[in-house]
């Protein structure tokens, strides 16, 4: 697996490359609009990096480290 959300830099945008999960969690992520090709931005994390805060479109989503590690991302080249 390549770079995931936990390897991202703060306040930088990325593109979702692959969701390494199936079933309920995948459905959940998709229902928030997190799917292949979506642009996301890593906003913050709590102390000890237990929980991550990302921006998807206009929504702010909180996810736990375990879940963040399942979202593989690519660098986003702004044009």
């Amino acid at each position: 697996m390549g770079k995931t959300i936990i390897d991202c830099d703060i306040n930088k945008s990325y593109l979702v490359k692959k969701l390494h999960t199936t079933g309920a969690l995948r459905q959940r992520l998709i229902s928030f609009g997190i799917l292949k090709g979506t642009q996301i931005k890593y906003l913050a994390s709590t102390k000890m990096n237990a929980t991550y805060e990302i921006q998807v479109g206009k929504m702010t989503i909180a996810l736990r480290k375990d879940e963040a590690m399942k979202i593989e991302v690519d660098e986003y080249e702004a044009n």
Binding site: A24, R26, R28, I30, I61, A62, R64
Partner: protein
């Protein structure tokens, strides 16, 4: 009169409850946290010749079955009878909201869309061409604002229009690759003259979209044999076009493409400055700061409890005075001794002791409603998940747990937001450790009796905190033993901060307070009378006469008082309650409690407020003459040793919640056996900690 039944659907935090409130005069609860409206709620109102009823379905991001609420919504939409769908969308985030809209369009029902929060969209310079959007989607689109009531008239008017006119063909289209396959399946169905309630197009889309119901329906049909190879081929083609993604991804992708097309045509955002921080971001920079976030939260909680205690005490004095006056006024007008005692000592004293705590309860409920409706609650879940997860709980467990400080009943019900069974059960078992509002009176009474007024706020706060900490430790213990297994994923939206709606908070607090009062008027009144009866009967007239004669003969007020106290003591001991208390006393003896305290705790199993009224009845019986002015607090501090009071408070913190809550628990946990476990668990823990607490206090 024509009846129109509307299914109100929308993603969480789009202001659905607010909207129903704006349309008709109702009392719906709104929250910013995903899934506060778990229960199906219905409002009915009349407009012209129509009776319109709206079913407020739980907010859902997609028509999936991720959580119980989402399942409720998708089941309702697919299986229940209704005339039309009213889809509420947040105008400031249509990109996300239209995803659900396209799924709804796919249901092929009559539908209209309310673009809510038009006022906010204007502030954010978002311009929406609703007419053109309506044309492109093939359904009526109305811009509304639940806050300013803008567009509400038009919405109701359009509801009637949509109801009266025949359903328009949905304009939802897929990419060429999928449309081609849909056509293939439709052709096959019509060639074979297949009979179905659903349209051919709907069947085709459902088959490609892997809808289980549709498969189940077709599996029994002869056409399945010829349809299957065509379908297989279609799915293969589609997957090839989409890089072998899963169907759910493909459909999400398709909907998104369709929506982006619509949005590009109908929505203009003028001079949006992406570098400028939004208000929500600015607030979040402080409230969920990595270091300051948790201290700020704890401070807010502490403030809430201080407020509950400090401000609440003012009207409490008035209420106390009122019931005192009522008791003596009513007492004077009744000549029969037994009846007077029943009314004054049983009924008025019992109910009065409960009503006394209304101010505290109102303040606490307002605080919780504020946390919920502003959007702060989900921030707290974000902040605390890391910590909670370590103890086997979920960040979202926080919601039921905090609600538990108000009342265990809604807390048990709100635990439904946890999808995973084990996570939910674990949370259910811990909720009781969060001291509910009904226990507050008991704490206030004991803290007032045994601590100085200056420290009472702090002591009360530490009682709540100790309960919470103990609960979390117990969660870990349970997670390691009874509830081993995978945890539920934590993925949740952090909604925009919104100013709370005064109207909705008022409705919430009003209904909760009313519920508490109703309980006081019925259940607790009955319980007070029962306890009064048990403590006053059977009469022992001989004993009474003996003592009355002795008192008559005694010289000096002091010896008279001593004798009258002795009489009261003896009378209580030979009453029914005395016998019950005596019977269970040995169990409570190691905790330094006498039979009166033991009885008070037993009655608390019915309802926690009853503990106060029981103590009231038990400790003020027959105290006429000069002890009239001394309050229950003083009586308690005179009659109960400090260490026993500590043990009493600890048991109150931990043991089984009230009867009503226990019933709800049993329903939510899914079986009586869990109630039995809960009883064993809480009783054991309560007793053990009370024992420890008692002996530590004695040693100090």
């Amino acid at each position: 009169m024509k009846q129109i039944k509307i299914a109100l659907v929308g993603q969480p935090n789009v202001g659905k409850s607010m909207l129903t409130n704006a349309i008709g005069d109702t009392t719906l609860h709104v929250g910013n946290f995903s899934g506060v409206t778990v229960e199906k709620k219905e409002i009915t109102f009349k407009y012209k010749d129509y009776e319109i009823s709206i079913v407020d379905l739980p907010g859902t991001y997609m028509l999936t079955n991720y959580s119980i609420e989402e399942k409720v919504t998708s089941d309702f939409l697919q299986n229940e009878e209704y005339d039309l769908i009213l889809n509420v969308a947040d105008s400031t985030n249509l990109e996300r909201n239209l995803q659900l809209t396209s799924e709804l369009l796919n249901l092929e029902k009559k539908m209209l869309i309310a673009l809510n929060m038009t006022d906010e969209a204007k502030k954010e310079n978002i311009e929406i061409n609703a007419n053109y959007m309506s044309e492109l989607l093939g359904v009526s689109v109305v811009q509304v604002s639940a806050v300013t009531k803008e567009g509400i008239e038009k919405l109701v008017h359009n509801i009637i229009q949509t109801y009266e006119k025949p359903k328009k063909e949905s304009k939802l289209v897929f990419s060429e690759a999928i449309e081609e396959e849909i056509l293939n399946i439709i052709t096959h169905l019509s060639d074979n003259k297949f009979q179905s309630k659903l349209s051919y197009r709907k069947i085709a889309i459902n088959l490609i979209g892997e809808d289980k119901e549709t498969y189940r329906m077709l599996l029994d049909e002869p056409i399945w044999i010829t349809l299957q190879p065509i379908l297989l081929e279609s799915i293969k083609h589609i997957k090839m076009h989409h890089d072998e993604e899963a169907m759910i991804d493909i459909f999400a992708d398709e909907f998104m493409a369709f929506n982006n097309g619509i949005l590009a045509e109908t929505v203009k955002i003028k001079n949006m400055d992406v570098t400028k921080l939004t208000t929500t971001q600015k607030i979040d920079n402080v409230l969920i700061h990595p270091f300051l976030g948790i201290p700020i939260f704890l401070f807010l909680m502490w403030g809430l409890f201080q407020l509950t205690f400090e401000i609440g005490s003012i009207p409490m004095d008035w209420i106390d005075g009122f019931f005192g006056w009522l008791g003596s006024t009513v007492g004077e007008s009744i000549s029969n001794d037994d009846i007077r005692s029943l009314i004054v000592d049983g009924l008025i004293a019992g109910v009065g002791a409960v009503v006394l705590f209304i101010p505290n309860i109102i303040i606490l409920f307002v605080g919780i409603a504020l946390l919920e409706s502003t959007g702060y609650m989900s921030r707290v879940a974000y902040l605390l998940d890391g910590f909670f997860h370590k103890f086997g709980l979920h960040g979202q467990s926080f919601i039921p747990l905090v609600t538990g400080f108000g009342c265990s009943i809604p807390a048990y019900m709100s635990a439904r937001i946890l999808k995973n069974d084990k996570d939910r059960l674990l949370t259910l078992f811990i909720i009781g450790f969060m001291s509910c509002g009904a226990r507050l009176p008991v704490y206030v009474l004991f803290v007032g009796a045994f601590f100085s007024p200056e420290s009472s706020g702090n002591i009360l706060f530490s009682i709540y905190i100790c309960g919470a900490i103990l609960g979390i430790i117990m969660a870990k213990v349970l997670k390691m033993t009874a509830f081993k297994g995978e945890s539920e994923p934590f993925v949740m939206e952090m909604p925009k901060y919104r100013l709370p709606s005064v109207v909705l908070i008022w409705h919430t607090v009003k209904s909760k307070t009313w519920m508490y009062l109703k309980k006081a008027g019925t259940f607790i009144a009955a319980a007070s009378v029962l306890i009064w009866f048990l403590s006053n009967y059977p009469h022992d007239d001989n004993l009474k006469h003996d003592y009355e004669n002795k008192i008559e003969l005694a010289i000096g007020i002091e010896s008279k008082n001593m004798l009258s106290n002795e009489l009261n003591q003896k009378l209580l001991e030979q009453s029914f309650l005395g016998h019950i208390g005596k019977f269970i006393e040995p169990v409570f003896e190691p905790l330094g409690m006498d039979w009166k305290m033991a009885v008070a705790l037993q009655t608390g199993l019915a309802a926690k407020e009853v503990v106060v009224s029981t103590l009231g009845v038990l400790y003020s019986l027959g105290g006429d003459v000069d002890e009239q002015d001394s309050s229950l607090k003083e009586r308690l501090s005179q009659n109960i040793p400090f260490a026993s009071a500590v043990a009493f408070i600890i048991i109150m913190m931990i043991y089984l919640p009230c009867l009503a809550a226990t019933i709800v628990f049993s329903k939510e946990a899914g079986g009586l056996k869990y109630t039995f476990y809960l009883f064993l668990f809480t009783t054991f823990v309560a007793y053990a900690f009370a024992f420890i607490g008692y002996h530590i206090t004695l040693a100090i």
